[in-house]
Every structure is written in structure tokens, then in C-alpha cells.
């Protein structure tokens, strides 16, 4: 059995016009120590899938096991990084990380908890800024704090929900490298699932990329293995280009198929439909 094993996950949300089916019998499996990215268009249900895998939100149907244990609520072995940092503004960077360490390692002495927090803040390059409050930190620094907080509890599973989505391109590139470094330092001990709409980011970090079709009723396409040596840099490598093309094709195929379905269903609004296609293909950052 795979380390993370999710099968037939479905999820719908109530809406005025009847339930909105976001996920339709989605299955994922991730091996121990693997870094998997789920890549897809905005609003295709990626975040919902991650929230379900991590136990933040329950699924309607389907089963999830992590390391053989069924998932019910957020596991003590898991850390989650959100796109919007989710730091507590009344605490300093250090206090934010300490809060996580204290909750995950209540048996440790206070000094030990503090040292752990300081160590991970230094690892993400915030050794000099750890007494600052989040509003005194830039977006990139805040996300560093969030990453330090996630790693400081020494999780077995790491869930990343578009971790760099809110950052400018330069900061993003910087942090991607840092994350790659932290993940390879943790090696087989940490299994990571990342949600992204940025293919290059996924290529840089992942062992495997899983394309996600646009919702509603989103499903996952066939995964693409990224067999590039690490550390990776900018991706002009032939394999990277091939992998990239593969994922893009997989995603656009699904879009065309979905649009063809939609066009068949409502042939009268054909012209509006083609405009929709154009908008759809621009939306993903590929």
C-alpha cells in the first residue's frame, strides 16, 4: 500500500442551483518520501482535494489512508502551508513557530521548543528577523515563517496549498529553491503533496506531476514522472521540456474534451463557448 492512499474521493458543496460537484471519484497514491504536485487550472478543485487529503475538510465519499491509518481530522504527523501564510498577527515570527512546536511536542522543555523554533527560522534565513511581527515582514518573509513553522514540527507529511501563489516572481524563485533544499535535507522522512497552477514550479520541485482536469466533477489525469537530477535549476533540459509539454497536452486535451461535451450539450451558444475556451486556456499559468 502506498504511503498516502486516497481512493474514490468525491465532494460536492451545496449551492442555490443544486449541489456543485467539485470532485468526482478522485484517487491518488503517493509513495513514502515522494514529492507530488497536483497541477491544474484555477478553481478546478485542487485546494478542495488538498483540504480533504490533509483532513481539514471531510470528503463526502471515499477513503484516505496515510501510512495505513485512516485520515480523520488533521494528523499530528502532518503540516500544512497555505497560500495566505496564515500567521497570527499578534505574535512575532518566533512565537508563531513556537506555538506550533509547543502543540506538536508538548513533552519537550520550553527551552528546547524555543531552540527548535529558532533553528528552523534560521534555516529559512530569518535568524535576524524572528522577533518581528508578521506586519513588519514582507510577503516572502511571511511565507518563510510559515514554511519554518511547517518544518519545525518535523512532519512526516507536508501539504502545500499554492505556497508561492501570492508572491512576486523573484521572491517565488528564491523560496522555491529554499523549499527544494529543505525537502532534500529531510529526504525520505517527509512526503509532500503540493497544489500549484505553476508548471515550472512543479517541475522544479516534484518527483511526479498529476494534472487535474477543470471542475466541476474534476478528476486526475495520468501522472508524469519528472526524472531530473537534483538540485534542479531553470528548466531548459530536454526532459523537462518533454515533461512540460506532456502535462500541458494532458491538461488542454481535457479542456477540449470538456468543451466538446459542453458544446454538444448546448449547441445554441456555440460562439460564447469558444470565447470560454480561450479564457480557460489563459487562466492556468502554463
Amino acid at each position: 500500500m502506498a504511503y498516502i492512499d486516497a481512493s474514490n474521493i468525491s465532494k460536492s458543496f451545496p449551492a442555490k442551483s443544486g449541489p456543485r460537484h467539485v470532485l468526482d471519484r478522485v484517487s491518488v497514491s503517493v509513495a513514502r518520501g515522494e514529492f507530488v504536485s497536483i497541477v491544474g487550472f484555477m478553481g478546478c478543485g485542487k485546494s478542495t482535494l488538498l483540504n480533504i487529503l490533509s483532513g481539514v475538510v471531510p470528503a463526502d465519499t471515499g477513503e484516505i489512508h496515510i501510512d495505513g491509518r485512516p485520515v480523520a481530522g488533521v494528523s499530528e504527523h502532518a503540516s500544512i502551508v497555505f497560500q495566505n501564510y496564515s500567521l497570527l498577527p499578534w505574535f512575532s515570527a518566533l512565537e508563531n513557530v513556537r506555538l506550533a512546536v509547543r502543540a506538536a511536542r508538548p513533552q519537550w522543555a520550553r527551552g528546547e521548543q524555543r531552540k527548535q523554533a529558532e533553528r528552523y527560522l534560521s534555516l529559512v534565513g530569518l535568524g535576524n528577523a524572528m522577533h518581528r511581527r508578521p506586519n513588519q515582514l514582507s510577503g516572502g518573509m511571511r511565507q518563510r515563517v510559515a514554511i519554518a513553522r511547517a518544518f519545525a514540527t518535523e512532519p512526516e507529511v507536508l501539504f502545500l496549498d499554492e505556497p508561492f501563489g501570492a508572491l512576486d516572481a523573484l521572491t517565488r524563485a528564491n523560496l522555491q529553491q529554499e523549499l527544494a533544499r529543505l525537502c532534500s535535507a529531510a529526504g525520505q522522512n517527509v512526503t509532500t503533496v503540493m497544489i500549484s497552477n505553476n508548471l515550472d514550479e512543479a517541475l522544479l520541485l516534484s518527483d511526479r506531476i498529476i494534472p487535474m482536469t477543470p471542475g466541476p466533477r474534476a478528476t486526475l489525469g495520468p501522472p508524469v514522472a519528472v526524472e531530473l537530477p537534483r538540485p534542479r535549476s531553470l528548466l531548459h533540459d530536454e526532459h523537462a521540456v518533454r515533461a512540460r509539454t506532456h502535462v500541458v497536452e494532458s491538461l488542454t486535451d481535457h479542456v477540449h474534451a470538456a468543451n466538446a461535451r459542453r458544446a454538444r450539450m448546448q449547441s445554441r451558444t456555440g460562439s460564447a463557448e469558444s470565447a470560454f475556451v480561450a479564457a480557460d486556456s489563459r487562466e492556468a499559468d502554463i
Binding site: 488533521v74 495566505n84 497570527l88 498577527p89 499578534w90 506555538l99 506538536a104
Partner: protein
Amino acid sequence: MVGNFVLPLVGIACAGLAWWAASAQVADLPSPLETWEESKLYIMEPWAKRGEMDQGIARLAYYSLLRVARGFLLGIALGTPLGFLLGMSTTAHRMFDPVIQVLRPISPLAWLPLGLILFQKSEPAALFAIAICSMWPTVLNTMSGVRAIPQDYWNVARVLRLSRLTTFTKVVLPATLPYMFTGFRLSLGIAWLVIVASEMLTGTPGVGGFLWQEYNSLIYSHILLAILTIGIVGFVLDRVMGVAEAKLRSI
């Protein structure tokens, strides 16, 4: 400079002028100057104690403040937990919201006799009236503070697997603090309003009690002295709470 100092002074002068004009028309109303002449003793010797009600104005204000402080503290000690309860539990909110909406507009003059029946003595009755009238802004503001906590912060608590107690002390309480303080400030304002009514009815020494006694003794200038004192003390209280509130909001 002009806007901050001169204009308020002009406003005060206008109010003084209106007072003076009114005193020229109404025989019993002392003019500003007469008020000053007859109140000088109380202002120049603010801490003097000559009799039960015949005391310096600062001493009288001190008694009133002490009573307000106790009633206010009682009010927020009851109101804050109630606010948290209503904010965190929809059931509690549905259950108690109608009761609160009915109790909220009741005047201190109505609560005081009830307090006298309940406690038999004037002092606890006054505290009861102050507490029950002043607690509502604290209840309602704390409640809306809890409800306004962004989903992000609840997610942090969930993802870090914080215990209920830690979630309360590290997430809910700090997130609600600015709202709570707005409630405290409004509550204190009401507590100060209520003091006069309760001292009048119970005849206890303080600014309100003094005002009522001097009315009965036909010394009308002292009524004006008491009114001005009440206004100025209330203004200072509000400013102090405002500063504390602004400090909390800046976080």
C-alpha cells in the same frame, strides 16, 4: 494649531454665551460668573470634607468614580464571558439574543428599585444598576469580535492541533481584544451615565448625590458645578479608554 485649539475654545465660548443668555432670562438659573463665585470653595479646596455631602468636588468625583469602577468591573466581568459564549455558540446566541434585546433598552431608573428589592441596601443596588446597564455594549462587541475572527485563524488552530484552551488564549482572545475594548469603552460611558441616576435615588455621597441634595437645598449654582464635573470626568474617561483601544488596534 488653529483647528486644534482655537476652534474648540470658540465652541466653548459659544456654549458659555448661551448659558449666560439663558440665565438672563430665567431668574433661578445662575449665570456663569455667579456659578463660579458660589462654587469657588468646592473647586479651590477639592479634597475638603466638611460634612456628608458638603465636600470638595474632586472628593465627590472620587466617590462616584469608585462606585462606577466597581459597577463597571462587575458589568464587564459578567458581560465578557457572556459575549464569548454568544459569539462561539450559535445555540446560545439564538437562545439569549431576544432576552438581551429586551433587557438592553431598560433605563437605570427602572433597574434601581428592582436592585433595592433584591439587595435591600442602596450601595449594592446602585452597583447592580450600573453593572446591568453598562454590560450590554461589552456583551455585543465581544460577541461580534468572536464572530469576526477570520477563517484563517481558525484554520491555524485546527492545523496546529491546538487544544481548546490554547485556541482560546492564543487565537480567540487576542483576535477579539480590540472589539472587547471598544465594548469596554462604551460600557464605561454608560456606567458613568448611570451613576448620577443611582446616586440621586439612593442619596449616597458622590457627584450625583451632591447634585440632588443641592437641588433640594435650592443652591442651583452647585447643580451646574456638578453637571460640568460629570461632563468633564466622562470626557476624560472616554479619552483614556480611547487611547488604550487605539494601542490595541495598532497590533
